[in-house]
């Protein structure tokens, strides 16, 4: 769990890094999906791009340089079919949720609210890809 000593900037950078990883991962997952699930993945990919832009602007607004996305991300497991692609999407969303939960621990009330609202979207997407809801999104392993 994140702690209160984490600065708002560090938490924003962590959220941005998680969004960048999700953007990369959805590119991989989408290649193994079809039909409505591929459409859902494309929609989620777009959502993460928008979130990345928002976070980049917030970090720049603080006078800092946003962390750069990596060229390649190590996948947590092999992705070769629709089932593993959906599992990857869920994994990515859990990571994003945890990152936004870090924002909730900072002292800035606006950032707390921003993180709490943002993690609802990622938790909803995670539930879609997992096919089930979680009691404590961001606080528990998927």
């Amino acid at each position: 769990m994140a702690v209160g000593s984490v600065t708002g900037l560090a938490a924003l950078q962590a959220a941005l890094a998680a969004e960048d990883a999700a953007i990369f991962g959805y590119g991989v997952a989408g290649a193994h999906l079809s039909g409505t699930r591929q459409s859902a993945a494309a929609q989620d990919w777009t959502g993460h791009n928008e979130a990345r832009d928002t976070l980049t602007a917030m970090i720049s607004g603080l006078g800092a340089t946003p962390v750069a996305a990596q060229a390649f991300y190590q996948l947590p497991f092999a992705v070769g079919d629709a089932a593993s692609a959906a599992a990857l999407a869920a994994y990515l969303e859990d990571g994003v949720t945890r990152a936004y939960l870090g924002l909730v621990a900072v002292s800035d009330q606006r950032l707390r609210t921003f993180g709490a609202v943002a993690m609802q979207s990622s938790a909803e997407r995670a539930a879609f890809w997992q096919g089930r809801t979680q009691a404590f999104p961001g606080l528990q392993a998927s």
Binding site: R112, A116, S122, A127, A135
Partner: protein, 176 residues
Amino acid sequence: MPDILPRRRLLAASAAALPALLAIAGCRSAEVFAGPDPLAGRPPLSRDVITLQAVIAAEQAMIALYQVAVHGDPRPTGRARGLEGLLAQHRQHLGQLVARLILPSGEPSASFSPSTSPSAAPTTGPGRVTIAQLRAAERASATNLVRRLVTVPPDLAQLFASIAASDATHAVALGG
């Protein structure tokens, strides 16, 4: 141990003499002891505790609403089974919230139980809770928790945020 009795007498004499000494010095007990006055009654609950109590009460109300929806359905339908899964997660929420609540001794706490009984929903008749009502309750709960988390300590704020996110997923699972 020849010196025990004289020492006890000395201590007793000191205790007995304390009020007189204070009177001579022109002091009152509240001026001498900087801590809370034990004669002033129970101290007020902190803002965080009051917030947590309110969140616990809301979670209990949510559980009661689900219990009416589940137990009010006379048939063992898929709907009831699905609702039981969400109800179980609300019970987990309540358990975690109650675990964070530390009340001063003497404060009533018996009503905060993770296993809220079905009888805790007196205002709604059996089977009268619709999916739309549950969905609205989940959305309202998520909004309420986000509103409350800005003022509480970080660890409690994260618990509120996580429960709010869970509630948001419940609302989606309920169709909206």
